[in-house]
Symmetry: C2
Subunit: 271 residues, 2 copies
């Protein structure tokens, strides 16, 4: 079921700039027991994305009402919210009067999210281009992720890691990456490319609360082999430990275990 500007519809105006230029942002939100999780954090990133692209942000209460309209009380689901600059003519210039399009869609909760098997990862070849103007926000220009995700079809590979043109690992195709080394947590800087994940932010807050030292830094592809442990995060998976990346196997480690155990309580408090 999909709501476009509040109306139940399955069709969008073909002149929408979301189609022509990817001129918009989106959020992917976990819904448990009918409640959108980490709503405030998702809305904060949506606000940031709209501000960076100079798109008028839809009213958040309106979005929440529409989200709840799509979710039954007992539902687990994945909610996708898209906000575009709206309909426009030919050409990149934004129309002087903008009427943003808001799309709220409901997808089934995926089985893989409830199964806690550690993940097997590979490196992707498709690089992430540096673009500070777009880095961090969850915009609709996602061809790099599409190309990277389509590098493999082997279902025993759960996620691919993407690097920038300098060979620094930035993130997974649809997740953020964390590494554990010498009792500390590391996660790649996403100020030149990559997405600043909502779950990444929550894990950093949790690490701080638990007194686990962490650094937001540069991690070169060649350094990954030497890490004590890896995990990935996103709003649907939460924290997912990595068992294997290419030929390197990773064992359980104390920091990851502590974070995995503490996360549900932390999310409840934040909800």
């Amino acid at each position: 079921v999909i709501l476009i500007n509040g109306e139940q519809r399955s069709q969008l105006d073909v002149a929408d700039r979301g189609l022509h230029y990817g001129d918009g942002v989106f959020e992917t939100i976990a819904v448990r027991d009918g409640k959108p999780q980490l709503w405030q954090a998702h809305m904060a990133r949506l606000t940031e994305g709209c501000a960076r692209l100079k798109i008028a942000e839809p009213d958040q209460q309106l979005l929440l009402n529409e989200a709840q309209q799509l979710c039954d009380d007992s539902d687990s689901a994945v909610l996708k919210i898209i906000v575009t600059r709206g309909v426009g003519g030919r050409g990149y210039r934004a129309p002087t009067t903008q009427e943003p399009t808001r799309i709220v869609a409901n997808y089934p909760w995926p089985e893989y999210a409830d199964d806690n098997t550690p993940y097997r990862l590979q490196f992707c070849h498709t690089p992430l281009g540096h673009n500070p103007a777009l880095a961090g926000i969850k915009h609709l220009n996602r061809l790099e992720q599409v190309l990277a995700r389509n590098e493999w079809s082997d279902d025993t590979i759960h996620e691919g890691l993407m690097s920038d043109c300098d060979g620094n690992v930035i993130e997974g195709v649809s997740s953020n990456l964390f590494a554990v080394r010498g009792g500390a947590l590391l996660t790649p800087d996403v100020s030149r490319c990559g997405i600043s994940g909502v779950m990444r932010g929550k894990v950093l807050m949790l690490a701080k609360e638990l007194g686990i030292p962490f650094t937001i830094t540069t991690i070169h592809r060649d350094e990954i082999v030497g890490m004590d442990g890896l995990f990935i995060t996103n709003s649907i998976l939460g924290i997912r430990p990595v068992a294997q990346l290419e030929q390197t196997r990773y064992r359980e480690n104390a920091i990851t275990t502590r974070l995995v155990e503490a996360l549900p309580f932390a999310l409840e408090e934040m909800a």
Copy 2:
């Protein structure tokens, strides 16, 4: 008037991957006297783009029929063709059975295209990210261009020049750039970012025919001031001389004049 998969429609399935990821390519084609110009060259780039993104390319004769269906015999118009990977579910992975969406749309011929005033340009701040996997093709991830075009609203500025993160000038927001220096033609390399314009290709062919030496090279922003002349190209403008870039004024120069004069005949032969 717009045809979506051959049907006259104004609405697109909201699940189209063109919207969700910018997962597709497009062409902007000049139509004069009802005839799409440089059709072969546009189709060659569309083929290249679809191949790079692994999207099944629509039949070119079908696209031509649809284009002609939209254009009267006497029309000047701008034709936009969009090809997306089609409808999909949530997630970057391409559906196993792909049914690409083709959109053929007709826009009015713009007045500025027939007025030959030399252009006034500025530098844009929004950088172009390097991404060899996407460079050259005319894909639907165009947020960099949207941000760059919205850096100015002064109508006396006709075009903005975009540079990569190293400060090398790559192209205009919706055009390619050429420079003249010491009797030779230079144009930026578009193998790491930028679009390989159809008109750019034709101008390079024309330079070769006319015996004008040319180089595809790196041009740093700081070198631009020292050029003898500049012009930009695209399918709608053809060749447009640049009179001014920021505070630097450029005079008419012999090479640009020769190319401007020879272009209409060359295009007729190529048509």
